[in-house]
């Protein structure tokens, strides 16, 4: 290649403990190009960004060049930033109460004798915005801006110190909140940047967005680069999805074909008229021994379902029915939902799922303390036995109940989380992203455990964005659509499922625009 790449990484690997999450990744971004980075959750996308920005330290053997100049590793962010790399994070990092100019200039205020010069600050902000072709008054507070303008301000901050036609900006899911025209505006701005010679790396879940804005795409799957700088014109969404998902994992027997009709289903939970947190009028039922998947577009509101159904958050309206009784979801609580036999396995195991500083045994037996123990005494023996039983059932390794949870690998932590709730003998188990950030082997164990829970009569509801896992394990899959309605997905294999979700969203957002 005659052109010196704007940004080039080679042999980028990352190992956490014993798990390698990124295997020799490489990516080359050319000057004046918009480069896409695609991959499922846990494929290593965010790890790549964290390595490039110095959050994590890469394994030895990596190489990192900006405009041909080698960067020292592990990354010193100021050095890389000075070389021209900047990042816009998912949440944009704007302070609402401050003005556009203050937000743009933070970290590099023009000063006179150590004092911020307001005129020069506003002028710098204005110059930066003008260079990007954005018309925003630098003196207004950020909270008054639209979603698209906020994204533009964040991008302007990132590009502030770059001279025209240089630099590379990394957008880490920054356009997630944008749709329709807003997204178009930001894309147009990125194209202008690229036309002037700067480069952009766009990370997005939205395959349509990647198709429309990027020149080339790098695709990651399970920590490996499976598509290296592929020209976007040669790709289509199904092709990207196929590469992201790989061959369908076949170690778990798909059960999708064996779905009973609604009449045959022995419904143990019905939800009707659920509303709240962006959801409207959601109704569905799940049968005894059924594995039900619910999927939708990230940010569409379906990810609140697990919390609304389990009493972790109160809904605005809706009724939950199980054989044990009925519950007004606007007056629900964790305890009342547990009483109905509905339990939640939350997504963020570090924050909501497990107490990391306590032992595996303590975490697993927590829910049974009141039932198994007497008010004045809880024994240790049954807690150890239960923990071991769970370790056997779910293949938790190592199987030492006295180990602290933080000492386990992510996959094994997830199994402990499952065990904790299965231990309660629930009627319905609602899981949110149960396979997020666990490796392939653990993923299989978890899916298998869910199936075997279903075989024993538990109704399992999996709310997840992992089409592949849902197709592998579910009896029935519902897609959350914009109207709030849950439609049954038409087929069970991963790629068409993802296509359906995105296709449906696209047509919905087009009709909304």
């Amino acid at each position: 290649m005659a052109v010196t790449p704007r940004l080039e990484v080679r042999g980028l690997s990352k190992t956490f403990g014993t798990t390698t999450v990124l295997h020799g990744a490489e990516m080359t971004v050319l000057p004046g190009e918009v480069h896409g980075l695609a991959g499922q959750n846990g494929s290593g996308k965010s790890t790549v960004i964290k390595l490039l920005t110095g959050v994590h330290r890469p394994d030895s053997g990596a190489e990192y060049y900006v405009d041909g100049a080698p960067m020292r590793l592990p990354v010193r962010w100021p050095e890389v930033h000075a070389a021209g790399v900047s990042v816009v994070h998912q949440d944009l990092g704007l302070l609402d109460a401050l003005t556009v100019a203050e937000n743009i200039c933070v970290g590099g205020f023009p000063t006179v004798f150590g004092r911020i010069n307001r005129r020069r600050r506003d002028a710098l902000a204005e110059r930066t915005l003008a260079r990007l072709g954005v018309a925003i008054d630098p003196t207004v507070p950020v909270e008054t801006l639209t979603a698209a303008q906020r994204a533009e301000v964040a991008i302007a901050r990132a590009m502030r110190d770059q001279t025209d036609g240089r630099g590379v900006i990394i957008l880490d899911e920054s356009t997630r909140a944008l749709t329709g025209e807003d997204l178009e505006r930001v894309h147009a701005m990125l194209r202008r940047l690229a036309a002037a010679g700067s480069s952009a790396v766009v990370i997005s879940h939205n395959l349509g967005e990647l198709m429309s804005v990027t020149d080339r795409i790098t695709i990651l799957r399970d920590g490996y680069v499976v598509g290296r700088g592929l020209a976007t014109v040669d790709l289509d969404e199904p092709e990207i999805a196929r590469r992201m998902l790989g061959g369908t994992v076949d170690t778990v027997t798909p059960r999708y074909d064996a779905q009973p009709s609604p009449a045959e289903r022995d419904e143990v939970m019905t939800v009707s008229g659920l509303a709240g947190d962006g959801l409207e009028n959601v109704s569905f039922g799940v049968g005894r021994g059924e594995v039900l998947g619910i999927i939708g577009v990230p940010g569409g509101g379906y990810e609140h379902l697990p919390y609304l159904l389990s009493g972790a958050r109160r809904a605005r309206a809706g009724v939950l029915r199980t054989p044990t009784g009925a519950l007004e979801l606007s007056r629900s609580s964790i305890v009342s939902c547990i009483r109905l036999g509905v339990v939640l396995v939350p997504e963020r195991r570090d924050r909501d799922g497990l107490a990391f500083e306590l032992t595996v045994r303590d975490n697993i037996s927590l829910l049974a303390l009141r039932r198994r123990g007497r008010p004045w005494f809880v024994g240790r023996r049954w807690q150890d036995d239960e923990a071991e039983l769970a370790a056997d059932r779910l293949d938790i390794r190592p199987r030492t109940p006295s180990l602290l949870v933080k000492q386990l690998s992510g996959g094994n932590q997830q199994k402990v989380l499952l065990a904790k709730w299965l231990h309660l003998g629930p009627t319905v188990m609602i899981l949110h992203e149960p396979t997020q950030a666990v490796d392939v082997g653990a993923r299989q164990d978890i899916l298998r455990a869910l199936q075997s829970a279903a075989d024993s009569g538990v109704a399992v509801v999996i709310v997840s964005s992992e089409a592949e896992d849902l197709s592998a394990v579910c009896d029935r899959i519902l897609m959350h659509t914009h109207g709030g309605e849950l439609r049954q997905a038409e087929t069970g294999t991963a790629t068409p499922l993802l296509e359906q979700v995105y296709a449906y969203t696209e047509s919905a957002s087009r009709s909304a625009a």
Partner: protein
Amino acid sequence: MTEFEQGAGTSVAHRAPDVLVEASAPAPVPPRRPRLTTSDHVRSVSSRYALLGVWAIMAAVYGGVMPGKFLQVSTLQTVFGSQSSLLLLALAALCTFVVGEFDLSFASVMGLSATIVPVLSSLHHVSIALSCAIALGACIGCGCLNALFVVGLGVPSLIVTLGSASLFLGISELISASNTISVTSKSFSDLALNNVVGLPLSFYYGLGLCLAFAYVITWTPVGRHIVFVGANREVARLAGIPVNLIRAGSYIAAATVAGLAGILLVASVGGFDPTGASTYLLPALAAVFLGTAMVTPGQFNPMGTFFGIYFLETGILGLQLLGGTGWVQDAFYGAGLVIAVTVATLVRRRTSHA
């Protein structure tokens, strides 16, 4: 016990993962617990009780330097006999720390109860028992006040308890008119000072309360719930534990125990100057944090606090016998607090890698 029991009892340690589903054939194998090796045990015990070793070394050094003064039964009696109020006070602090809360007002609450008892019994001729009951009631009120602001209204606990500490101190000064008032009741002071096997009764109160505290935390459902609230509030909430009730309860329990500490203080010393309450704050905190480096490293625990109190007192007494004066206490407690937290952090880091 659950419907989800098939697959139990199969216990080939490293079976291939795909056998799991088919593994439902009941093969009753006797329960088998992975035994920790001896070296695991040694390492775990050594990290859990390392500070007791340091304590022994410290005592040995003092004994070597001044065998005549330090190696006496009276030294032992001073160390273990004089710190009971402080131990109770540290347990009060522990009540809030174990649930992940933060209370700076416990020393003032102790001061309040140590003021109310002599004021009522000496100046207003109320019986000692009734005075104590009223003092405890007032302390419980203080705890409720803290709980109302921190848990009920969601005001940061640092601000609330810093402010309420000063408020309670002011009230104490008001009712005592800033004088030290004494109680002269032999039967009352006997309750604290009666000698049992060489040590005053008050020592056994402290020990008893520590053991009770440790029992509740380790062996009762409420105690385990408390530990979870302290470890991760959201996990506890999603498990259906009444998190706010437990948080509020911790403030009230802390104030109650601090009130008991005040009563014990009056019983053993006879009177109290409320302005001196704040000098009890740092030693109690130092002991609580030192305790996190012992027994169950990385966690606030009552037996650790118990050892922490006497560890610090041994150090101070030794320095005083060496000729140190008033500055010794301040310096040792201050340095002790920082070193305690440092040691606890290091021990915890080791635990995570073991």
